[in-house]
Symmetry: D4
């Protein structure tokens, strides 16, 4: 069965991946040390059958995508904010471009959140409100064009949101430029 083999790979080969996504606590003895020495951590490691892997963008990829979206907007003479959120809806990158209005950053984050939550561009999702108008009352969402999912094997791994252009369709073009940058 596949799932087991996945776990096997976790055992044999994913240490680097784990290192890549970090450990978080390393001792230090600095005077203002936030996490001083000798953590005395729990010794018991969890079993592999208990683990699942999830896929996200590296910070390098997320930054590249956000920059590509911002560049596309700048080229079009638009002043926008760009957000990249991971599959958990957590912001990985936020760029508030020159001249973007104060409403833009949170709007961008919510479009990205919405796109990754339903794995579809927010321009599509906004149309679904005709059938289920209260979808837009779900906390954290924004059903305005300008959000696009980033997919790996068809599954959503991130969302890119853009806000600040005079139309949501323009915002979404820029978001798609960000997605496209990840396909190269």
């Amino acid at each position: 069965m596949k799932k087991t083999s996945v776990r096997t790979r976790v055992l044999t080969g994913t240490v680097a991946a784990l290192a890549a996504v970090g450990v978080g606590a390393v001792s230090a003895s600095a005077e203002t040390a936030e996490t001083p020495a000798a953590p005395a951590a729990v010794k018991v490691d969890t079993q592999n059958k208990n683990l699942a892997q999830s896929t996200g963008l590296t910070i390098d990829a997320a930054t590249r995508a956000a920059q590509a979206a911002l560049d596309a907007a700048t080229k079009a003479g638009q002043h926008v904010a760009v957000a990249v959120v991971d599959r958990d809806g957590v912001t990985r990158v936020l760029l508030k471009g020159d001249g973007a209005g104060p409403q833009a950053p949170e709007s961008a984050e919510r479009k990205a959140f919405t796109a990754v939550s339903w794995n579809a561009p927010t321009s599509e999702l906004a149309k679904r409100l005709a059938q289920a108008p209260n979808l837009k009352d779900i906390p954290g969402t924004l059903f305005l064009a300008g959000g696009a999912p980033v997919q790996a094997k068809g599954a959503p791994v991130a969302g890119i949101g853009v806000a600040g252009a005079p139309s949501g369709d323009l915002d979404e073009q820029f978001a798609q430029a960000g997605v496209a940058a990840l396909a190269k």
Copy 2:
């Protein structure tokens, strides 16, 4: 149709892990459909070089750990709440046990959040405040005994927090019972 083939690929490729952590958007034509048909999603899949894997608990494992912590508390005659959060600090499981006070659930979540953030039990982390007292002002944290990290290869993959017993040391014993359940 595309979406089905996506699932097929999920089954056959290395992306079983992706299946494990889910897809999230499947079409449906129900009357009150929240995510109706034909999402017209972005076609471009992101490249592997852009991707990083992260490790977390399955919901089965997280539930088992939370239940084990609650059982340990009940056996000791204590009334507690138990939380399991993932590496992103997002709650996977919350159980407010019978008779737990109103302060217990959020206290449990914060202890779990704190433990996974610094990859150490909160009893240890509370001692670190002697050197860096303002650590406890970081939003979302609680520096009280009762939180324990769950580790895979030494890296934090989840946090378990317990609150409601008359002492934090008791709370942490129960949290550790939850961790221990994952080692079996």
Copy 3:
């Protein structure tokens, strides 16, 4: 010592129900004791005429219901979050299933809250908006299918909410599976 005698009284009186829903404060002398000895509590017990009983689910029942809802979703290939709230709208159980989107947990909690508040499935409640559209502006609510009340003698004692499936009708099927598990 006082506190022990309190427990003794709990054991011997009609307050077994109270014991079931817990006491909350028991002394302990641990070094990091959160609630140390000798509370010197108020001596006056309130009279029975001042008291009302309310009914809720045990944590065992609430967990079983949530698990049944999640199992039903998993069987149907859906990735969801499940919440069980009590009559006061307080979350007793939250399970964020594997692959559930970031919007799912709060959506599930709000559906459960809405169902227990009006003692009706949220699919029914959503229809009521035709007459009273501003109902949906009440804080904490979500008028999307997926929430179901748990009743005892016809009165609401809990709410179960599910979110994450492509349609609210599916979500509500899973929620009802959770309710049904309590009838066995």
Copy 4:
């Protein structure tokens, strides 16, 4: 075993209690009906083994206690706010007395919340911070004198909080006057 007998009592005698704490949804055909006719609720009633009873104050008792606390303050020439919260920390009664400052209502609610959470007067709880100083970082709490638990058979069933007098000791005297009113 006690727990079973509790359930038995639930079966035989608690119907009135259930009625007393309400149903919440009754049909009505008013033009702006918030909860219109024929809820089509779930038919399955949960089993008794799944239920637990909890004890709280009636609104009459809670109001009487709050009024007694306010009267005691007025008699002493003090301007205060009074809050009564239930075992879940939810406010049942809030009175902002004439001349009470803007900080008083939330302060009163938090003192009440803290008292019911640990089943002890907040003057006692404040002393416990010497051993566990971070207890006061638990959300919703306030470790200032002025809160008192209401007990039934030694278990906390409500909390009364008073704020606004020049000293917390005075506030707590008034809160205790509220508790005492329930013993008559």
Copy 5:
């Protein structure tokens, strides 16, 4: 000119009124004194020309009104929460009646807030949305029947809100019963 005469009266006779609405800080030497002795307050009193009087309910009146609204609901077999807010929208009295749902208290407060803000019953205000639908996006408001203003000389001095009955019209009847109690 009227305004001056008002100020004159303030000079000659309103000291009692000021006392009635309180001072807030009186010295005390209790061990846990919240406001210890010798405040060394600013010596300069503001001039009368700088002052304006505003009118509100006494806490006795506000409590009587809230109780009357709750009694009316109880008589009708409904389980509601009642709130009385002052002209500033600040809650003076909150009663969560027996059996009221968890959504009721905040709903009642918002209805009261809305009624006092526009000096009209919320059933009337809800109709105004036909012309200005975005009024309901103003923070703190709720455009559902159930709120009624309390007036003195036609000006709003308080708002009473009721929530929890199956229709807003019923809620508003109870709120009006609260208003009527102040006319006796």
Copy 6:
């Protein structure tokens, strides 16, 4: 008795005062009318025995005080924010001066809130923490020098807060300049 005479005066002369503090709802038939014609308000006026008067600053006075505080800061070469809150803690005037840091406005509001709540300068109140350290955990407060109460007949009618200067003592000098402007 004083209180009655106050009410008598309310009956005979306070209409202008009521007008002064506003009515709030006047009909209008504008296209986007927020509060359209014929409110059909409740006819019953509340009785005088139910009413209490409270004293506050006019907006003219509050603005003058805030401006005086800001001018004093500017003269001293400091960049600050100034807030004036009423006896209910509600902001009447907020001025974010040129060059004031982003932390200044809320800091100024909280200092003003704290000063009016305890009717004392915040420099005094900060000293009281030596005896009652947890006072500072009351929501909305800030125990830093820079807040001063405005008094009428010794009772607090407003608070002025200043933030942004390099020391709280300087901030409080500016706040006192604001208070002093009301004595002229």
Copy 7:
């Protein structure tokens, strides 16, 4: 190229402007010093190519505009709140006029925020909802007449919002009076 010349001006002439908008940290040795001596700040000054200038109102201008809006309302017998926000949406001036309802201040701030975000009066923006109804879900916005942008060379540098009059059209007249005061 223009941008370079801007930077050149920054080099040669903007020091005064920088002084005008403040430094924020000056040493002081007062007893309660918030920012004591010897900041030991980073020595490296950023390069001019890294800098952009943005334009806002002086606090004097912002206050004058707010006062003009309030005066216009008072002249019309209306009781309103007025807010002036800068290009970043941050409140520079808030005036809660005599008799303004509790809903007015935040409503005014949101109208001002909305006007500056889209550089158009909110009466215009409200019409745009016909095409893009979900625009109004962007956090911080309010699509009700009463907000007006302040422009310099056509670009938005501030927003003025007014709330509390019986129609949004009236509110916007007052806001425009505030804008007009800046043209003199």
Copy 8:
């Protein structure tokens, strides 16, 4: 058409800076247009005497600084989040690096906010708490090493915050690397 001429004026006047920081509203006729054509904006331009310039980083510079800080951390084997805020405390860039804990992003933003508010590194500011311990209660701040101001002519124009390394001193080294990147 007006809007074009506006841009022309931007090009020719001293307002190139305005162009640099953007305009924000340009018409568009897209189907889902967020800001459709013909805004009919207020015609009155504010006078120069009313305007003040403020200095900030371009998004290019802010991104470069954030990237430099992140690179320094990565080189040192640390997993951190980096934030760059402007003089108003608004986030311009946020990067949550690979493996950074869930507490890191908000911690980084608050350190950056604190550094720009007082124009000093947070390691310095933390020492100031010895004299003024309640400074740390100002909302939005965090007095932990890891924040550094960006200065132009000695005035703060931005703040850089880093969080996630085992000591605040390490975090601050990385933040300073970000500042240094702007000096090249």
